[in-house]
C-alpha cells in the first residue's frame, strides 16, 4: 500500500461545484417523497404505534406488565435508557470534539450525527419517565419550590441523571440549531413554496450570509462546541453513577465512568455508520460522505471497542484482586451463570467482531462494515443488559435470587423506541439538510484560498 501521508486526502471526492453540493443536499427536501419513503415511514410508524400500545397497557395496568421483579427492579426500561443515551454520544463527539480538533472530515457526517444524538436522547428521555411506577408523578423528580417544603434528594444519582440528560439534550439541540441556521437560510433562498419559505425564514433568524453573521456564527459555534465537549464525558459518566454509586456487586465499581463513555462512543459511532450507509446511498451523497469517512469511523469503533474490551477484562481482574467473595461470585456468575448467554453475546459482538476492522478491506467494504456495526449495536445493548440484569439477579442473599424474563410488552416498548428513532430520522431527511451545506462547501477542494498557487 502506498499512501502518501504528507498529502491530505480530499474530504469531498470529485471536486464538485459548490452549486452541485447545494443541489445534491437540498434535493430530498425539494422533491416529493417517493413511494419507498412512505413504505419506510409506514414501517417505522407501525413500530412506533406498537410501542405506544404497549406503553398504554403499561400505564393502564402497571409495571407488572413488564418482566421486572423483586431482585431485578430494572430491566429493559433502564437497559434501553442507557443504550439510547449511549447512541446519543456520537453526535456531540463528532460535531464538537472533532470540530475543536479541527478534523475536517467531520463536516460530511456531523449534521446527521447530531440529529441522531437529539433523537436518541429523546428516545432515552422517555425511559426514566415511563419506568416509574407512577409516571403521572414524575414531576416530583424535578426540584421545584412547593408549599410542602418537599425537595428532591441530591444524593441520588437518578436525580443527577435528570440534570445531566436534560442539560445534554438542551445543549445538543441548541448546538444543532445554531449549525443549521446558514443552511436554513440557503433553503429559504432556494424554495418558492410560500409555506416552506415562511418556515425557513422564521428559523433562519434573518440570516443573510453577511460577514458579520459569519463572524458571530463561527464564534458562537466554537463556544458551544467548547461547552458541549465536557458534556460528552459528563452525561455517560453520570449515567454510570446510577450503578457505580450503589452497593450492589457488579455495579459498585470505579471503572464505570470511563468504561461507559468509551462504550457510548463505540455504540454511537456504530449507529451513525449504520444509518449513514443508507443515507449516502439513498440520497446519492457518496462523494460527500465518502468511504474515507466511514473508514475513519470504523477506526474509532475499533479503538473504542478495544477500550471496552479492556474494561471487561479489568472488571474481572479487580473482582479477583479485591478479594471480595461476593464480588468474585458476581463476575463468575456473569460469565458462567444463568445469564452467560447474554454475557458471551456481549463479548463476541463488542470485543471479537470489531477486530475485523484491523483489515483495511473490511473497513472499506460497505456490506461487511454493516454486519459488524449492527453486531456492535446488538452487543452494546447486551452490555447494558448484562450490567443491569446479571448484577441484580444474584446479589447478596441467595434467598432472594431470581431470574428476569422480559415480556412481549418489554420487547414492544424497545421496538417502539426504535420506531420513534427511525421515524424522526426519516422525517429529518425530508425536512432539513442531512449534511451541512455551508460546512461542506468550506472543505471542498478549491474552496479554501490558496497562497501557494497550487
Amino acid at each position: 500500500m502506498d499512501i502518501d501521508y504528507s498529502v491530505e486526502l480530499p474530504v469531498v471526492e470529485g471536486r464538485p461545484a459548490l452549486a452541485d453540493i447545494e443541489r445534491v443536499i437540498a434535493r430530498p427536501m425539494e422533491e416529493k417523497p417517493s413511494k419507498k419513503f412512505f413504505i419506510a415511514l409506514g414501517i417505522t410508524t407501525t413500530m412506533l404505534l406498537f410501542g405506544a400500545v404497549c406503553l398504554g397497557l403499561t400505564f393502564f395496568y402497571g409495571i407488572g406488565m413488564w418482566g421486572n421483579n423483586q431482585p431485578v427492579g430494572w430491566g429493559f426500561d433502564i437497559v434501553n435508557f442507557v443504550f439510547w443515551v449511549g447512541i446519543g454520544h456520537a453526535g456531540t463527539l463528532i460535531s464538537a470534539v472533532l470540530f475543536l480538533l479541527r478534523q475536517k472530515w467531520r463536516t460530511g457526517i456531523a449534521r446527521f450525527a447530531e440529529a441522531m444524538t437529539i433523537f436518541a436522547v429523546m428516545c432515552a428521555g422517555i425511559f426514566p419517565l415511563i419506568h416509574t411506577g407512577r409516571p403521572w408523578l414524575a414531576g416530583y423528580l424535578f426540584p421545584y419550590p412547593n408549599q410542602n417544603g418537599l425537595w428532591v434528594n441530591f444524593t441520588s444519582p437518578l436525580l443527577w441523571d435528570v440534570f445531566a440528560v436534560s442539560t445534554y439534550f438542551t445543549v445538543s439541540l441548541v448546538f444543532w440549531y445554531i449549525g443549521l441556521i446558514p443552511d436554513l437560510a440557503t433553503m429559504r433562498d432556494r424554495t418558492n413554496n410560500p409555506i416552506k419559505k415562511t418556515i425557513y425564514s422564521i428559523f433562519s433568524l434573518g440570516w443573510r450570509h453577511s460577514h458579520r453573521h459569519w463572524q458571530h456564527y463561527e464564534k458562537a459555534y466554537m463556544l458551544l462546541a467548547g461547552f458541549a465537549t465536557p458534556l460528552v464525558l459528563s452525561v455517560h459518566t453520570i449515567v454510570s453513577f446510577d450503578f457505580a454509586v450503589s452497593v450492589i456487586p457488579g455495579w459498585h465499581t470505579t471503572i464505570f465512568p470511563p468504561y461507559f463513555v468509551a462504550g457510548a462512543i463505540f455504540s454511537g459511532f456504530a449507529m451513525v455508520v449504520t444509518v449513514l450507509v443508507f443515507v449516502r446511498t439513498i440520497f446519492n451523497l457518496e462523494h460527500i460522505i465518502t468511504l474515507d469517512h466511514l473508514e475513519k469511523m470504523n477506526k474509532v469503533i475499533l479503538a473504542t471497542g478495544m477500550l471496552v474490551g479492556y474494561a471487561y477484562g479489568m472488571e474481572f481482574f479487580i473482582a479477583w484482586y479485591s478479594g471480595q467473595d461476593i464480588e468474585r461470585f458476581v463476575f463468575i456468575n456473569r460469565a458462567f451463570g444463568p445469564y452467560a448467554w447474554a454475557y458471551w453475546i456481549m463479548v463476541s459482538c463488542n470485543v471479537l467482531v470489531p477486530q475485523f476492522f484491523w483489515i483495511r478491506k473490511v473497513r472499506r467494504s460497505v456490506p461487511l462494515m454493516m454486519i459488524i456495526v449492527i453486531l456492535v449495536n446488538v452487543g452494546m445493548w447486551f452490555e447494558r443488559f448484562v450490567i443491569v440484569v446479571s448484577s441484580l439477579h444474584r446479589d447478596f442473599l441467595p434467598s432472594s435470587w431470581g431470574y428476569y424474563k422480559p415480556t412481549i410488552i418489554d420487547f414492544g416498548i424497545l421496538i417502539g423506541s426504535f420506531g420513534l428513532f427511525f421515524t424522526l430520522v426519516l422525517l429529518f431527511t425530508k425536512s432539513l439538510p442531512v449534511v451541512s451545506i455551508s460546512e461542506v462547501k468550506a472543505v471542498v477542494e478549491g474552496a479554501q484560498p490558496s497562497h501557494h498557487g497550487d
Binding site: 409495571i63 430494572w74 411506577g133 414524575a138 461470585f329 447478596f396 442473599l397
Partner: protein, 1037 residues
Amino acid sequence: MSENKENISSPKDNTPDSNYWKSFKELYQNKSEIDNNASDSSSIDDLSSSGLSGMSRRKFFALIGASAALAGVGCSDYRDKGEIVPYNVKPEEITAGKENFYASTCDACTNSCGILIKTREGRPIKIDGNPDHPVNKGKICARGQANILNLYDPERLKEPLTGGSGFYSAVKWDKADKEIQALFAKANSSGKEIIFVTHTITSPSLKKVFDDFKEKYPTTKVYSYELFNSEVKNSAWLKCYGKGNFPLINWNKAKIILTLEGDILSSEGHKVETLRMFTEKRDVSKPKDYSRLYCVEGDMSVTGMNADYRLKLRPDAQFDFVMSLLNEIVIKKNISNSSVSSILSAKLNNYSLKSFAEKYGLSIKTLNFLIADLIKNQGRSIVYAGNSLSEETHIATNLLNEIISSEELYNKEKETLSLQKLSNIKELVELVWKMKSGKVGVLVHFDSNPVYHFPKNLEYESGLKNVETIISLVQLENESSLYAKYILPINHTFESWGDYKTRTGLISLQQPVIAPLYNTRQKEAIALNWLAQDAAKYQANFYYEYLRSRWEKEVFPVSLTQLDFKDFWNASLHDGIAYQKDESKIAFSFITASLADISSSPKKSEGFSLLLKESYALGDGRFSNNGWLQELPHPVSKIVWDNYAAISESSAKELNAKTNDLIEIEVNGQKCELPVLIQPGIAHNTIAVQLGYGRSKTGIIGVNVGHNANVLLSKEKNSSPWLYSNVKISKTGRTYKLISSQEANDFDNTLTKDAHIKREIIREGTVEEYKKNPAFLKEEKKEEKESIYKVHEYRDVKWGMSIDQNKCIGCGDCVAACNVENNIPVVGKDQVEKGRNMQWLRVDRYYAGTSEEPIVSHQPMLCQHCDKAPCEQVCPVAATTHSPDGLNQMVYNRCVGTRYCSNNCPYKVRRFNFFNFRDHFRNGIYESPVLSLLHNPEVTVRSRGVMEKCTFCIQRIMEAREEAIRNNVPLKGSDVKTACQESCNANAINFGDINDKESEFSEYRNHELGYYVLDDVNTRPNVTYIAKLRNISSEEK
C-alpha cells in the same frame, strides 16, 4: 410577647375610637394595642397586619369564587369517595379510633386456642392469642391469624339456597326450616335415619344440641370425622394403658427428644403449646439447659429441619427401627428384672440395630449418641411417634418410653378430652351401606365436607344419590353441598356463640364480635330452630340463651369460682375461659399384654412408601379459599399455591424424573397425578404428599389449586390410613410447574454452594463451643468501618429488633401475622413465579451439606432499618428517609416508583406494587367492598407503582407514643410489640429501644452471639440476629 400581654391587660386610655367598632373591647382599646394584639397572635405564623396583602376583600372573594368554579368544573369527574357517616349516637364501648379486644376461641383446628379479637369501630381486624389462656398463652398459629380473611371472604354464601343438580334459588329461612322440619318428621315416622356428618365435636353445648335432637328424633345418628387424627395412636394407648388418650407431654422438661416421623413443631398435637415448651429449652442464656432433638423421619419436616441430629428412614420401617433400638437399649441397660423382659426377649431377638442401620444407611455414630443419651437421661428423655405410624409402632414406642421412664415427662394434671369418639372406618362403611340401601331419610352435612375428605373407595358419593334429602350447612359451597337439596349458609366463628372443651380443667367461650355480615345463621342455632315448635319464630339469640342456660346448669356448678352466675358468666366472657374442677391425678401403668400383637421379626419394606400429610397452610383443605394461607411458603420447600410429591434426589434419579415432572402414583388401584419435587433430606424411596389441595368446588381462590391426593386414601384395612407401602409410580411425560418463593438450591454448584455460610448471612456454632468460649463468634473483632456520611446520634428512643435463631423454627406464623397487620395483598401463583411476592417479612431457608444429608438453616428476613440505609441514598425524591427514632421510613405519597431503592437494598426486603394486586388477583376478588372491612385502618392500603416494606409496625409505635404523651411518661422500648413479635410462638423476636441499656432487649442487642447480616456492607442494621447453637454431642468434633 410578655410586653404585649401586659399592654392588653392594662389599657391606658379609654377614649372611643372614631372608626367603626364591633365590640366594646375594640372601641375602648387603642389602635396600637389592636395592632400589637394582631402581631401577638400572628407571631406564630409570621403574619403581621401591616404586611397583609393590599387586595380588597371583594376582589379576594371574586377570585376565590372564580377559582372554585374553575376547580368545580375542571374536577367534576373527581371520584366520589362515598359517604362518611359519623355515629349519631355513640355506641357504648366504642370510641372511634380506639380498638376493642374481645376474648374468644379459635376453631381453625381442634386445638381450640384462646384468641383475642381486635376490633375497630365494630369490625374485627386482627386475631391474636389470648394471653390469659393457660395453654396457648397469647399465641396462635398462621391459620388462626389468617382465619379473619375467611370471615370477609367475598364468596361466602349470603342466602339460604334450595334446588338440586346444580340449579339453586334463594329461599327464605322460615320456609326452608319448615320444609326441613317436615322432612325430619317424615323420616322419623317412617323409621328412616337422620344422619349428621360433622367434624370433631369440641363444643359441649353443640353435643347437647345433638343429644336434644336425638331425643326428639330417635333415629338420629351423628357421625364425626377428621381427615387427620390421632386415632391409631389412641388405640395403641388403649391397649397399652387402658385409656384411649395419650397424655400431654411436658416438652420443656425434656432433655432428649426423639421423634419418629412426628412433626411436633408443625402439625401434630397442640403445635402452639409444643413450640413454646420446646423453645424454652433453646435459651442461649441457659446453654447448660439445652435439649437435644433427634429426628428419625422419611419426609423432611419442620421438626426435622430443626433437629440437632436427623436420620432419614422410610416411614414404613419405623417399627423395625423402634424394635432394634429397644433391643439395643435392653442389651445396653441390661434389663432383666421387669416383668416385661420375658416377653421382650422373645420379641426382640430378631432385631439388631447394627444390621438395621446397615440396611437403611443410618449413621452408627449418631445412633450411638442417641442410645447413650437415652440411657443417660433416664426420665428426662422421650420418644415421640407420629400419628401416621402404625399401631404396633406406637405400642413399641410406648414400651421404649417405659424403659427410659419417660412417663416422668407426661403431664399428670391435664389431659386432652374427646367429647365424642370419631367414627371409625367400619362405622363409615356401615353408613354408606345404609345410604345405599335407602335407609337414610335426611343427611345433614354439618359444616363438613365428606365428599372431599372420605376415601374414594368408600363410595360415599354414590351413596348420597340414594339419600332422600341432603342438607349442607356451609360457609362456602363445597364438593358435598353439590348434592344438597338445601344449602344453608352459616356464620363464621367470629359471628357466633360457642364453647369448647378439649382439655380437662378448662372450658373456653366463643363470642360473636360482629353481627352476621349476610343472611346467615350459626349452625347450632339452625339445629335448635329445627327442634323449635314454630320455625318462623327464630331469634338471633337462640343459641346464646341455650349456651348460657347450659353454662348455668352444667358449667357453673363445677367451676372454680366464688362469683354468682351472672358475674361468673361475664367474667368468663371477658377472659374467654373458665376453670373447672374436673382435674384428676392421671396414672400410667403399662399393660404387658399389649405386646402380644406386635410382630417379632423384621418386615420387608420394598418399593416406594407413601406418606400422606396434612397441608401445612391449609390443614385438611378447609382453608383452601384463603389467599394468605395459599401464598404462605411451605416452611421447608418454600412452595406456594401447590402440593407435590416430594422425593429424594436418589429416587428421582432412579425414576429418571425431575422437579415439575408429573408422575402417577398408584396405591391399591387408586391413582393420582402429582408433580415431583426433589426435596433434599427425604428418605430414599419415600414419597411425601400433602393433602388439602385440589378442591373441585370452593371459592375462586382455592378451586383447582394443586392436586387432590385425597383419592389415594383407602377404606381398606391398612397399618395406618396415611401410610402406604409398595406404591407404584409411573411417569406421565407431562410437566406441571411448581412455584417456590426461593430459588431451588443447587448442591452441586461449587459457586453457589454454602453461600449463606461463606457470606456470613447465617452464623452458627455449637452449644459446646459456646460453653467453652462465649465470645467464639466474635473472635476476630472487626473494626467499625468508616462512612463518608456523618454518623447521626440518636439520643432518644431508637428502635431495634433481635431475632434469636436458636428459637426460630422457621414456621412462618410471623409472616401471616404481618400480612394481617399490614394489609399485605395476595398476588397469586403467577406473580410469585415472577418473584413479586409482597410479604414484608419472609423466612429464608438455606441448605448446606449434600442433598441427601442437608443441614438446614432459616432466617426471618425483614427490613433491617439500617442506620446507613443504601435505599435512602438513592431515592431521587426522598420518599424513603430516616426518622429521628432510627426507623427507615417509606413515604407512599411521595414515592414515584423508580425501584432504585429495591435494587440497592442488599437484603432485598423491599416490595414493589407492580400492579394494583387487589385488582389484578383473580379478577379483583380481593377488591370486593367487603374486604375493606378487613383492612387495618391504621395502615395505608398501597396503590400500584409504590414501593413498600416492613415499617417495624410504626402504627403500633405511634400508638404507644401517643399513649405515653397522654400519660405524660417517657416512651419505653417495651411499650411496643410488633405484630411478628406478638405472633411468634417461640418468642424468638424481641423489639425495643437500643438506647435503653437496662432493658431485656438490650441483652439481645449486645449479645455475644449477636451479629448483623452482611456486616461488611456497612449498612449498620438495627436488626440483630442471635447465632444458632446446635446442640450436638460433646464427643463430636
